[in-house]
Amino acid sequence: MTENDALHALLQQALPPVQDRPPSRDLWPDVLDRRPSPRDWSWLDLGAAAAIAILLALFPGCFWLLLYHL
């Protein structure tokens, strides 16, 4: 028995080949869950909302200007 054969035999003993088996459940929904939701708020959206809120808190008079632009 060569050194390689001996190592091979040792590994086969310690780590027997795995039995082929299907996944335990349907994983397609998990793949779909990875898709980012289009309704998710981005950091840019949150930053803009926070900036507007701060602006309105500091300068309440801007509310009418903001309303006019909406």
């Binding site: 050194e3 040792l10 590994l11 310690a14 780590l15 080949p17 795995v18 082929d20 994983l27």
Partner: protein, 178 residues
């Protein structure tokens, strides 16, 4: 392959981002990809996570897929990379725990020796571990391994040789002589 070939149409729809085509391809290749990943990561729960990650990566990379090439081989390469990433992450998580060498020199053949061998195997760098798993444990042909890892055959053989040398070195430090 003709432009009207339903197989090519399905692949084109996948490349265009059609989720139904993606699902059809998932259903067709899930079992094969899962079996391959399971051989590499050797943990059923982890294999399922890596399968999901692989399909998600394939879906995100769909624009780079060439529809005239076999989808299964392309997916297998992605799955192999995802499995490698999993092994690297798992190794980082357990590095400190596994880094300690067992001071006892167990006799080869008993449970402790088998555990020591398995731990020595998991201590291999991920890129060597994946080659050793597929070649020495799963006995897959070198050509298949080279294709899945997108590497030349010579690189697979040299990695296998390095993996064997490192395993021997690690095992002999623990008093196990293969």
């Amino acid at each position: 392959m003709k432009a009207t070939d339903p197989e090519e149409q399905l692949l084109r729809r996948f490349v265009d981002g059609d989720p139904l085509a993606a699902e059809a391809l998932y259903r067709r290749f899930e079992r094969e990809a899962h079996g391959w990943i399971l051989r590499i990561v050797r943990d059923p729960a982890a294999a399922e996570d890596v399968l999901v990650e692989s399909f998600w990566r394939a879906y995100r990379a769909r624009a780079r897929f060439v529809v005239t090439r076999p989808f299964g081989a392309w997916l297998r390469r992605i799955a192999t990379r995802a499995a490698l990433d999993h092994l690297r992450a798992a190794r980082r998580r357990t590095e400190r725990r596994l880094g300690e060498v067992d001071p006892q020199a167990p006799a080869a053949g008993d449970l402790a020796a088998r555990d020591a061998i398995a731990r020595a195997f998991r201590r291999l760098p991920a890129k060597l571990q994946v080659v050793a798993t597929l070649a020495l444990v799963e006995e897959r042909p070198y050509r298949e391994i080279a294709e899945a890892l997108d590497l030349p055959l010579g690189t697979v053989k040299s990695r296998l040789s390095r993996a064997s040398a490192r395993l021997r070195e690690d095992l002999s430090r623990q008093g196990i002589r293969p």
